[in-house]
Subunit: 147 residues, 2 copies
DNA sequence: AATAATGTTGACCATTATTGTCAACATTGT
DNA sequence: ACAATGTTGACAATAATGGTCAACATTATT
């Protein structure tokens, strides 16, 4: 039940973008260095976020990426949907046809509740919430500027 | 974010045991057939449940396995702990040392909430709850006797 | 005691998903 | 024209999962 690194790295990259207050886009290169992700891998992680309308990108010199919307309008559930897909712990939740027992299965009901618990957290949290929490933590512990 | 088949199969096997009202133990062979799991694989799934004190086993002819406790005293969280380990979506929740940013990381806080949401569901559900839900569903849809 | 039916254990293997890397390309500011 | 960026697709390494197989241990039955 681990999240993929795609989702972890992607979320941290988005938070870094959200923390970047200037208008100018940020280089992938810089995010890769900050977050200790290889540049080629980060490119592949960013791609679905661009396709999903969370990130805008500009090519060429002085290019880079930036948030397509304000941080308070980006919910974490969108990020995980794009990078991780559904959080359903078992296939039969999204796809009841894969198992003939789906409708009568009571373990499936439990796994469904688990999914709902996770979804609720991610639906109710925006990038802006992360930004604010980060600022609070940074204020409390000035030495910790990491994301 | 999928559960392993170990956990899914193991939970279904335990539910089958819980539904089996007689005193006599159940053959692994029979559970394997009912749940469509290969016998050798089921043996490996059962092993940690025996070691964890959820299942008792008897060797020899007329042997088999049975629940070590009453269904209302077996919480699903015990099962997932034995078969899946922690539900932490990221390693740094159980093991902050793996990442120097742990204490300052705000994404980690979100993943922690996700874990707590899942744990809450599994802590508050017992095998007996599954048994009751199963009986309700069976009564409503008599043709669906599956687990 | 012999035997057959069960569960136990450990070694092993196949498949798949993840996690990347690399190279060619497209775009754009200077 | 060129250099700096992002884009895309093919590919590879690695690890985890899901499973098999064979040898063994135990016990009821005869």
């Amino acid at each position: 039940m681990k999240l993929s690194t795609r989702t972890r790295y992607g979320t941290r990259a988005l938070l870094e973008l959200a923390l970047h207050r200037s208008e100018t886009p940020v280089f992938l290169k810089d995010i890769a260095r900050e977050q200790e992700i290889s540049l080629p891998y980060l490119e592949h992680i960013i791609a679905p976020l661009i396709a999903g309308g969370i990130i805008r990108s500009t090519k060429g010199p002085r290019g880079g990426i930036s948030l397509a919307r304000k941080p308070q309008d980006i919910r974490l559930i969108e990020i995980t949907r794009l990078l991780e897909g559904s959080l359903a712990p078992v296939e039969c939740i999204d796809n009841p046809g894969v198992c003939t027992r789906s409708s009568a299965c009571v373990t499936r009901d439990v796994w469904t509740k688990m999914k709902e618990g996770m979804d609720e957290v991610l639906e109710s949290t925006t990038l802006q919430d992360l930004v604010e929490n980060h600022r609070k933590k940074s204020a409390a512990e000035p030495s910790m500027f990491y994301i």
